[in-house]
Amino acid sequence: MTAATAKTPLQADAPSRNRFAAQTMSHILPAILLMAAVLAAWEAIVRLAGVPEFVLPAPTQILRTLAERQPQLLVASLVTGEEVLYGFALSAAIGVALALLIARYDRFGNALYPLIVLFQNVPKIALAPLFILWFGYDLLPKVALIVVIAFFPIALNMLVGLRAADPNLIALLKSVGASRNEIMLRVQIPNSLPYLMAGMKVAITLSVIGAIVGEFSGASAGLGYMIQFASTQMETSLVFAALVEVSVLGVLFYYAVEFVERRFVAWAPNNQVE
């Protein structure tokens, strides 16, 4: 009895992988079932009530459009994806830089922090027409809009992480003569990484929104442009197809960030495998 119990933690490999797969299955199964039920109900209502296609297309119709117009949708996805990528990368660079400066230089922080908070309360989407005016119709105004929307959660989360470093650990380093830069490098920055990743997860979602809104305000390509154009043409099933594409894009970006998180800040309590 005792021998058998003692053995269990060691004999992990093969059975645990199967068990893991089974567990994942049982985790996502309810979600799949619910979604299938919703789609079936949607399909049934549209067909039975005879809802016109330009008002609400049936899921099967959306699927058909998704397949038929895929080349066009793919091109649009690449345009929007590029905007998100550049916008997010720039937001991350600016957010991290601001957080580091505010945490490292008190004067700078005192001057800048209230302004950032104030700026955060400006409805940033309202800036889109200005960016079109200043930067034209291409990539640049979308990147600018994404940055003003997405840098804040990154800067704020990172700043919280920098300031949440263990005060005893900092006191210890100070007591042996470590400089402020050293304390930053050895303790505060590593400590901020899980917070930074949390901020990035919020920011990547906001980046996709920023790109779409940017395209709504003025664009000649991209999924947002496509949604707006298709709706003026009453091509509602194309609107839905583009929405599906945007969602897939958003999920891909989100999991890319989460992958980086699991890979590089595995020590943080939230990322530990049970």
């Binding site: 380093l173 003569g177 400590n191 943080a268 309590p269």
Partner: protein, 299 residues
């Protein structure tokens, strides 16, 4: 240059610090830096005021204290008696409002800067993103910049061996128990070979059984290394079991009310808990603390 404070150890600084750390630690019992039997820590007329909303509050009142080299002194008292504040003053983390403090003949700040004081807190304060050995090496990496990485790691491993954790060198803090984490913190403090170890309720967050095991462990380390230890606790048994001397503190105003030498022979072990001197000292302390409490703010 590399190690300002051990100039008295002169020629074998390198071997002391990096090749035979345990032997070096034993040597420091000898009159290497501060002659044995003289006061290594001395505080007189010490007072600390905090300002809170324009109101001055005296959190420490007229403290006089003397710790011999190689001594083991505990500060005990109810919460709010200023024992942690006193330790902070001794460790140079807080400047006193009045009075004079010297640690190893210099001011506390200077003593800490010269790495003659090692600090251990109630929480281990480890970096969760680094494994045990890297945590032990942290302070050495700051202070011994011109030492090679492998020298620092060797010294770190020696320290982990000293605290009995060489097998756990590569484990992350989250994979260590509370007691093990605290031992890593002690190894980190010992790595700089300080003369004095100041510990602020280091076992306060541990369960009772781990706590007693850690007390045994600390006495063993103390006997092997000959460090001077100042130990803050609110556990009577812990204070009696560990200390050569116990300073009893009380609130209102926060002050020292008695200095009690513990007449319990070393080496101390399981059996020490059940002999008369232990019992007498514990009873005496319990009575003092109760009186202090009764006269305090809760009366």
């Amino acid at each position: 240059m590399f190690d300002i404070h051990s100039s008295a150890l002169s020629g074998n600084v390198l071997s002391d610090m990096f090749q035979a750390p345990v032997a070096a630690a034993r040597e420091s019992v000898e009159p290497a830096r501060t002659p044995a039997g003289t006061a290594q820590i001395r505080a007189s007329g010490l007072a600390v005021d905090f300002t809170n909303g324009g109101k001055r509050i005296r959190v420490l009142h007229d403290v006089n204290l003397e710790v011999q080299k190689g001594g083991f002194v505990s500060l005990i008292g109810p919460s709010g008696c200023g024992k942690s504040t006193l330790l902070k003053v001794l460790a140079g983390l807080l400047a006193p409002t009045e009075g004079v403090v010297s640690v190893a003949g210099v001011t506390p700040v200077e003593a800490v800067r010269q790495r003659r004081v090692g600090l251990v807190f109630q929480e281990a304060a480890l970096m969760p993103w680094k494994n045990a050995i890297d945590n032990v090496c942290l302070l050495m990496e700051v202070t011994h910049k011109h030492r090679s990485r492998s020298e620092i790691r060797d010294r770190g491993m020696e320290m982990l061996k000293l605290v009995g954790l060489e097998h756990a060198a590569l484990r992350m803090p989250s994979q260590l128990s509370g007691g093990m984490r605290q031992r890593v913190a002690i190894a980190r403090a010992l790595a700089l070979d300080p003369e004095v170890l100041m510990m602020d309720e280091p076992f306060g967050a541990l369960d009772a059984i781990t706590r007693e095991a850690m007390s045994d462990f600390l006495l063993e380390i103390w006997e092997r290394t000959g460090k001077t230890i100042v130990f803050v606790t609110h556990s009577i048994d812990e204070a009696v079991f560990l200390s050569k001397e116990v300073y009893v503190m009380a609130t209102n105003p926060a002050r020292i009310i008695e200095r009690l030498p513990i007449e319990l022979p070393y080496p101390r072990n399981e059996a020490s808990y059940s002999i008369k001197p232990f019992h007498d000292a514990a009873t005496h302390l319990r009575r003092l603390l109760k009186e202090g409490h009764r006269n305090g703010s809760f009366a």
